[in-house]
Amino acid sequence: MTPDPITKLMLDILRMPPAASAHAADVDQLMVLVHWLMAILFTGWSIFFVYVLVRFRRGAHPVADPRGVRGRWSTFVEGGVLVAEVILLAFFSIPAWSSRVDAFPSAQQSTVVRVVAEQFAWNVHYPGADGAFGRTDVTFLSATNPLGLDRSDPAARDDVTTINRLNLPMGRPVIVYLSTKDMVHSFTLPQMRVKQDAVPGTVQPVWFTPTRTGEWEIACSQLCGLGHYRMRGFYSVQTREDFASWLAAETAALAPR
């Protein structure tokens, strides 16, 4: 789907990161529309502003007219702004938001993964072939087990864990259960148009569908301490085959334990 020339022009001006998820087009569409609205209003006001300053400068207009502008067109401008905002809100922003937070895909059809943020890393937890996350507990925490995964739990035997590495298959919904061990962090996948605060004490579900393969970075968007600037991870959208073979290799590496 190629965007129309007006949309494309604004997209070229805005220069956001490449969009690589199914809902990114909705986000970008609204971004384009709202920036067009801003551009039109700012240009319109600026032209009027400059015209008035030139025409009514003291040299050209020595005696002021106290009556000022007549006519109701300012009301039309204000009304127009309101109408434009209502349209953006009701037909674009709210539906797009609702599809993010209400219309979760079923777990069976999705890649489900836990992401646990901490100062200053992203811990990733795949449930493995059984589709069930193994038990985690604070007592199992160690430098090599930052998730505190209980490997004696049968559900945990095939669980794959990584640090700062999130691999995902293309063309299939992803559900991330996001949490944090310590501070507020913000899980950001710029190309997916995904950003979600990880709030201590809560688990936040996020879902999206990657539509392009690529190798990108996970960013932290919420100040989380002195290492905030380097709380960077990597994520990769792979073909289903590549993802399956990666996951199989990771699972196989667990076997000796």
Partner: protein, 566 residues
């Protein structure tokens, strides 16, 4: 001799105390960000000139550590907002001008007024001192989100809370005073709709301060308890910090702080902007030589803004896990609140139509306020829509947005006010040439600083990064803008020299001004301030049949055909 001014209960003296203290803090806050901008432009390179003065704990070899970077950022925001802009806009302009403009003999509670200043000064001293405690000042953002702030190892965070409590107390005392003064002490004839727009703006602002700040006061006490008394108001159970389970009782809620903080901090945005609009309105009416267009509509818009500003706070929290219904509510209120802002801005621009515009120095700043505030307001739209907030939240786009509102917006209005009322205060004019150089230099350099922030933010560069985003691949294409922005900041610092020199030199050497040098209509320019009486609307400029192009409010003579007020 000098110290006696610190014990005066005269609203004019207190206003000036506020003014000089707030200008000092604006300079301090600006100084912090200039150092920070060096680090953003040249990460890991020693800060020139002042580097060795920063201390080995903060900047060994002059190289800013991430901990110190976070101090600079948090304290820049705190000092600019709470110790610089608001005290200047409300404490200084409100104290000095409100009684004069409504013809009151003084503030309603002069001692409370002095107390308000003292608490403000105490808050400022506490904030500045916190740089010198072990671990340094607060370094958790001006928003101080827990658990980071709760668990922050530096006692600077506790000092920050104490400082905030002093500042909040000061604001509460000040706002009660302004409200009471406006309600009770208006001169005979000063009906509500004869009040200058600046007085209306201060009136609504005072209500915002009075009603919003207690939420943060409560929150600051709770966070202080968490820090010193071992409570867990903002700490949920099960936290693990640096690999070790945190030894607290838990059961708290980290989001509670965000709600309490933003319940204050969004109305606070309007505390920053409403007095600025008031100052700009006064100066525009005076320098166009005509009444404000839509004065009543603007007053009503102030009230709508005031009420709605309490209903939008959670648009700062769209990404904390908000459902459709709540996000729709806060998006809707956020879109609605843009309308009264648009009404006021449009009215101010339309007020220029038909005028005889004098481009005096205060007018230049007031005029520049309009497109700059417009830019700040418009860039709020994609942040106020939850869907477009997803990519933009916590990026430099946000930083650009609110700096357009506050820096070339509010601070320009405050500069305009200083140039405009300086002759009322000192009897002398400020130098025009220096003023114009200050204006042009500041306008160009502020845009050079803040415009590229939108470009970086759209590219996905996050704010509050010690290395300015150098770590991230998506930032590489816009990374060089960091250097451009920092050069803009250094240029901005240079052009403030013109202002500082002008301010102090004009005190003694400025051209002597007449009592009413701008030919203004409002009461503060009256030579006879003993028992003023008010006979007309605030902006009776260029009425038909009048001998001159203005009739002050205190002049009784009725002109043959009075102007219709819009």
């Amino acid at each position: 001799m000098f110290l006696k001014h610190f014990f005066s209960t005269d609203h004019k003296v207190i206003g000036l105390l506020y003014a000089f203290t707030a200008l000092f803090f604006l300079l301090v806050g600006f100084f912090l960000i200039v150092i920070l901008r060096w680090q953003l432009a040249y990460p890991g390179q020693p800060v020139p000139v002042v580097g060795p003065l920063l201390g080995d704990a903060n900047a060994p070899g002059g190289i800013i550590l991430p901990e110190f970077y976070n101090q600079l950022g948090a304290m820049h925001g705190t000092i600019m907002v709470f110790l610089g802009v608001v005290p200047l806009a409300v404490g200084a302009f409100g104290n000095y001008l409100v009684p004069l403009q409504i013809g009151a003999p003084d503030m309603a509670f002069p001692r409370l007024n002095l107390g308000s200043y003292w608490f403000y000064l105490a808050g400022g001293v506490v904030m500045l001192s916190s740089f010198f405690v072990p671990g340094g000042a607060a370094n958790n953002g001006w928003t101080s989100y827990p658990p980071l702030s709760d668990l922050s190892p530096t006692s600077g965070q506790t000092w920050w809370l104490v400082g905030m409590l002093c500042i909040i107390l000061s604001s509460l005392l000040g706002s009660i005073n302004i409200i009471t003064t406006i309600v009770q002490l208006r001169a005979p004839g000063m009906t509500w709709f004869r009040m200058p727009f600046l007085v209306w703006a201060q009136f609504v602002t005072a209500f915002l301060l009075l009603l919003a700040f207690p939420a943060l006061q409560a929150a600051a006490i709770l966070q202080g308890m968490d820090r010193v008394a071992g409570t867990s108001f903002f700490l949920p159970s099960g936290l693990v910090v640096s690999g070790r389970p945190l030894d607290v009782s838990g059961g708290g809620n980290a989001l509670l702080w965000q709600h309490l903080f933003w319940f204050l901090a969004h109305p606070e945005v309007y505390v920053l902007i409403l007095p600025a609009m008031g100052i700009v309105a006064e100066i525009i009416a005076n320098n166009t030589r005509k009444p404000l267009w839509g004065y009543r509509l603007m007053v009503y818009s102030l009230f709508v803004l005031g009420v709605l500003s309490f209903l939008v706070w959670a648009h700062h929290m769209f990404l904390t896990g908000m459902g459709t219904a709540i996000s729709a509510f806060f998006q809707a209120t956020t879109m609605i609140i843009s309308i009264p802002s648009v009404v006021i801005l449009t009215s101010l621009i339309l007020s220029l139509w038909g005028g005889s515009i004098r481009f005096t120095t205060p007018m230049l700043f007031a005029l520049a306020f309009l497109p700059m505030f417009g830019m700040g307001g418009l860039t709020g739209l994609p942040l106020g829509l939850a869907t477009t907030d997803i990519p933009l939240h916590d990026t430099t786009y946000v930083v650009g947005h609110f700096h357009y509102v506050v820096a070339p917006g509010t601070i320009f209005a405050l500069f305009a006010g200083i140039y405009y009322w300086f002759p009322r205060i000192t009897g002398r004019m400020m130098n025009d040439t220096l003023g114009r150089m200050h204006f042009v230099g500041s306008l160009v350099s502020m845009n050079a600083i803040f415009m590229p922030m939108f470009v970086q933010g759209l590219a996905g560069v996050n704010r509050r990064l010690w290395d300015g985003g150098m770590e991230y691949a998506h930032a590489q294409g816009v990374l060089s803008l960091n250097v451009h922005m920092s050069i803009g900041a250094f240029a901005l610092a240079f052009f403030q020299i013109f202002f500082i020199v002008n301010l102090f030199a004009s005190l003694k050497q400025g051209r002597v001004a007449s009592a009413n040098p701008w030919d203004a209509t409002t009461l503060e320019w009256s030579e006879d301030t003993a028992s003023p009486r008010v006979y007309r609307d605030p902006y009776d400029y260029s009425p038909p049949g009048a001998p001159r192009d203005f009739v002050p409010q205190y002049v009784a003579r009725v002109v043959s055909s009075g102007p219709a007020e819009g």
